[in-house]
Amino acid sequence: MAKTAIRTRTDPSPVSSAAPAGAAPAVRVRDFHRRFGDVTVLDRLNLDIAQGEFVALLGRSGSGKTTLLRTLAGLDSAGDQDVTVPTARAVVFQEPRLLPWKNIWRNVALGLPGDVRSRAEAALTEVGLSHRMDAWPATLSGGEAQRAALARALVREPRLLLLDEPFASLDALTRIKMHGLVLSLWRAHAPAVLLVTHDVDEAISLADRVLVLEKGRIAAEERIDLPRPREVGAGFQAIRRRLLGHLGVDVAHAEASRATGESALIAFPQ
């Protein structure tokens, strides 16, 4: 594998940024650009993610979400551009991407040195899969496989967890459970999280901060101060409307007809 030109850092030194006072951000990207042929995918992009911050990245297809995530993951080289990420980082992809010829715990332990069964078991216990440790990936349901993929990321104790639409191919009920799981894991381990998604509601209900990627740049940013767990209420809806507006979807009209009924049914979350 070619070494990525990405700068990695193990002991953060203070840098002036959007991060909380005194702590360096987990991720720092300055004036990042990336083009494929004539198409500019990312254009002078700036991004800071604080230590332990949960950031969701929204954008239409082709907006460069995945390109940005791949760069932060080190799967695409950043060249000599100004990109700083932690050394300990892990990706959960949209598909589980478990190696079908390794049982679950060996998948979780993939690439880790030494006797790692107990570490894999601990991670699998956290995602509620310790009873399937010796199973083949082909026997797992979609939700179980994605939980195994989460365990595989967790076991590396990442300071940056990159989630590339990890819930997109799950059914609605499983997705809700996965949201809860990801939040509890995030609370327990406090990695910085970058969640790439196209689901506005998912972004609002999980993240501290939602970014909208548009034409290769961060076009909008919403800080979500609603207490978790977040229910769809007026505050939620206002944020959703703004974010959809940034994404070029005019929902004011459609929402207006439903809003009265919904706010009557769902408790106002404040």
Binding site: M1, A90, F93, E95, L99, P100, L110, G111, D134, A138
Partner: protein, 269 residues
């Protein structure tokens, strides 16, 4: 752990399929009976085709006298050596071509060109080069085996899901560990398929190769029997060839069931 058991030992082909098997034996047995009747009534002269009972008796005689086991062993060793050499060369070439673009450019055109040669047409050339003892027989088998192994393994290596490779890379695998943990296991099903083709080809070429001035082996037995119009011996040898092919195939299947236990087709949960 009870869960591991249910996953690893599926109830594959029990029960249901045995019930239908009895019926499937009716027509072959009927054919044998007709053949025997034809031979006994003189409808089928023994120099055209020996009766099944005569074949069975000859088989037993050859078995007891040790004539069959010794010659079979000679043939078996020929296939084994030729196969081993061919698989080694084919795998080596496939790995070279599969794992690097440079290797592909160097190896693939060459193999693709040689592949078009009908192997058996090479036997005169091999006799000129290697004489008439064991060497041309073994090289013919090995040569024929190279191609199915190469084609399938090369294809298998290139067909490994790039998303799995990417995921493994993101978890810190690279170089040899990536090949060992991801590429080779991913290509294993294709390799085993190639091996099955290779076994079939090896036995096919064995038949012809053994006609080259053999002093022992199944081909030698057949050649001798032909000279004396002993159709019973010829039939015995044909059956042995068939069994050899069948045995080889089920051997690879057994290996597949073990090595590819993770595949959905072997999993019944």
């Amino acid at each position: 752990m009870s869960l591991a058991d249910t996953v690893r030992f599926p109830a594959t082909f029990t029960g249901v399929r045995w019930a239908g098997l009895g019926r499937r034996w009716v027509s072959p047995i009927l054919l044998l009976v007709l053949w025997e009747i034809g031979a006994r009534t003189g409808l089928i002269p023994s120099r055209v085709l020996a009766a099944p009972s005569a074949v069975a008796a000859t088989f037993w005689g050859m078995l007891v006298s040790g004539e069959l086991p010794t010659n079979l062993a000679v043939s078996f060793v020929r296939v084994a050596i030729g196969l081993l050499a061919g698989v080694a060369v084919g795998s080596g070439l496939a790995l070279t071509a599969g794992l690097s673009r440079l290797g592909e450019d160097a190896v693939d055109p060459l193999v693709q060109m040689l592949r078009t040669l009908p192997v058996l047409a090479l036997s005169p050339l091999f006799i000129v080069w290697f004489g008439i003892d064991e060497t041309p027989k073994l090289t013919l088998i090995a040569f024929a085996v190279v191609f199915p192994v190469y084609l399938n393994l090369f294809n298998g290596i290139r067909a490994v899901d790039p998303r799995l490779i990417e995921a493994a890379r993101s978890f810190g695998l690279s170089g040899w560990s990536l090949i060992r943990e991801v590429v080779l296991p991913g290509a294993l099903p294709s390799f085993l398929l190639g091996l099955r083709f290779a076994l079939a080809v090896a036995i096919l070429v064995l038949v012809v190769a053994e006609q080259i001035n053999a002093q022992a082996g199944l081909g030698y037995l057949i050649n001798n029997a032909r000279d004396f119009m002993r159709t019973d011996i010829i039939v015995v040898c044909l059956i042995i060839y068939a069994l050899l092919g069948l045995g080889a195939d089920s051997l690879v299947r057994a290996v597949e069931r073990r090595a590819l236990a993770w595949r959905p087709s072997f999993l019944r949960t």
